[in-house]
């Protein structure tokens, strides 16, 4: 299934700001969807839609910061670029701590915003690729038998076959067979790769910021 092309979402309660952003994005050939409230975004956003979110901080009803928290709770990975009419540094710091991709004060230079959007879209792609990879590993993991799982854990913790055989109370030859099956099922071409897969799964969300 082909991945849908990215959309830049704009959420700002100010109609003029919203519409001007939509036009700017159009002028550089980016697909945009502009919404007036955080609620509308939450109600319509589908997690499998790649893109990024340009979000006003202060809005009546659900604020930009609250929307960001909601997205965090739902485990959404969409990168958020905050735009604010306030020169409020504590607010910017908080947004960044909550995992915002960037923070821009209004009014901004078009190139500043467009550069950030481009970077956010790249980041989104990376996030999605990582998620997909993680899901694939997870799926393979579920195809392992309980015994193979045990072997995987022991292999990942660096135990030699001989020690594993002792731990599991089976012959070294059996361990070797299990081990080969694990490598095959997990699609790992080397021990190092297998260990990395297990580590990736152990640390959810451990991607580079």
């Amino acid at each position: 299934m082909k991945e849908p092309s990215p959309i830049v979402f704009v959420v700002d309660d100010d109609e003029a700001v919203r519409n001007s952003l939509r036009l700017l994005l159009k002028s550089v050939g980016l697909a945009a969807s502009a919404l007036a409230t955080a609620r509308e975004f939450l109600d319509t956003y589908r997690p499998n839609q790649p893109g990024c979110l340009v979000l006003d901080v202060r809005m009546p009803g659900m604020s930009g910061m609250e929307l960001q928290q909601q997205l965090n709770i739902r485990g959404a990975v969409i990168p958020v670029i905050f735009i604010s009419g306030h020169g409020d540094i504590p607010m910017a710091v908080e947004a960044m701590q909550q995992g915002a991709f960037d923070f821009l004060q209004k009014p901004f230079r078009d190139q500043d915003l467009i550069d950030r959007i481009q970077r956010a879209l790249v980041k989104d792609q990376t996030n999605r690729a990582e998620l997909k990879e993680r899901a694939r590993i997870q799926e393979r993991l579920t195809s392992l038998t309980p015994r193979e799982r045990e072997v995987l854990t022991l292999v990942a913790s660096g135990k030699p076959n001989k020690v594993m055989a002792g731990d599991l109370g089976v012959s070294q030859r059996t361990v070797e067979i299990h081990r080969a099956r694990v490598m095959e099922k997990m699609g790992a071409s080397s021990l190092a790769q297998l260990v990395r897969m297990v580590m990736d799964l152990d640390e959810p969300g451990a991607s580079d910021a």
């Binding site: 700001v17 002028s27 009546p60």
Partner: protein
């Protein structure tokens, strides 16, 4: 703002509407140059406001200062400046973004002129909006040459009757004044107190606008408070103030309105405190909200 408006007029004069003898490309270049000037102008204006940013951040953070400060002439000026800076940034952001977008659209091989024209009109409209915001916020600010003098609070309210009446009527709201007869004269700044009362009445009308009620009512009443102060209360029978908001509604920039600055109550309270008085919210029984301004009596002698 004036320069933006002038630039706008110029665009109209020499864009593809005028000078039809010029080759298309030249006219587009000309328009592009002007759009850039507009964008740079917007950035410069924003820069001016950015200088005040420090004061603004300070204001938002330290509401405690609002609480303590009594000699708040300076504070008023700060609040107004901060709010102008914030509010004006919205139209400025729109102006800059529209201008940048037009510039980029005109660089495309086959620019859609209708779309660009609509954006240019928006630029003009947003410049006017920025001017309106400044005017509106200036009107919230107390006059620089404040005039304190002895006044009959009832007369101060009575002077507002026509204004409130017409505003209330426009909102489908009944206005009633309940004025006590035993009030002493007190020293106050007439225009400032009237500004506060009007602000509270507008809030009430806006709250009522959202309510589904057969009879919508705003009452401005005066009386001697149990503590002996002169009290002016503005009450409505609307939905009342959400308890979640009640705690922070006097904070600067806290607003639930789509078109509010979030400064009305903060400035109102500042003004009343400058009079040595208090401005508090009470739930209105059986329904609605009350805001009570309490002003101290003049010290004897």
């Amino acid at each position: 703002m004036v320069s933006l408006t002038v630039a706008w007029t110029t665009i109209f004069d020499i864009g593809h509407f005028g000078n039809t003898g010029l080759p298309i490309d030249y006219r587009i270049l000309q328009a592009q140059a002007i759009i850039l000037v507009v964008a740079i102008g917007a950035q410069m204006l924003a820069g001016l406001f950015a200088e005040r940013r420090e004061g603004e951040a300070h204001l938002v953070r330290s509401n405690a200062m609002l609480e303590r400060e009594r000699d708040n002439k300076l504070l008023n000026a700060q609040a107004i400046t901060a709010s102008i800076a914030h509010e004006v940034r919205q139209p400025l952001a729109a102006i800059a973004t529209y201008a940048h977008a037009c510039d980029r659209l005109l660089s495309l091989p086959d620019p859609e002129l209708g779309e660009i024209q609509a954006a240019l009109r928006q630029i003009a409209e947003q410049a006017v909006r920025a001017g309106d915001i400044i005017r509106r916020l200036r009107s919230l600010a107390p006059d620089e040459n404040t005039q304190h003098g002895p006044a009959d609070v009832n007369a101060v309210i009575a002077e507002l009757t026509d204004l409130i009446q017409s505003d209330a009527k426009a909102h489908g709201v009944t206005y009633r004044a309940e004025l006590a007869t035993d009030l002493p004269q007190i020293t106050l700044d007439r225009a400032q107190i009237q500004q506060v009362v009007l602000n509270l009445v507008r809030n009430a009308l806006e709250a009522l606008a959202l309510a589904q009620l057969d009879t919508k009512e705003v009452i401005v009443s005066t009386r001697r408070s149990p503590e002996g102060e002169v009290e002016i209360a503005v009450c409505d029978n609307g939905p009342g103030v959400d308890s979640q908001i009640a705690g922070r509604m006097f904070d600067p920039f806290s607003t639930t309105k789509t078109a509010g600055t979030g400064l009305g109550l903060a400035i109102s309270r500042t003004i009343v405190r400058a009079h040595g008085g208090s401005l508090e919210h009470f739930p209105h029984v059986p329904a609605g909200a009350c805001f009570a301004i309490r002003l101290p009596l003049d010290a004897p002698g």
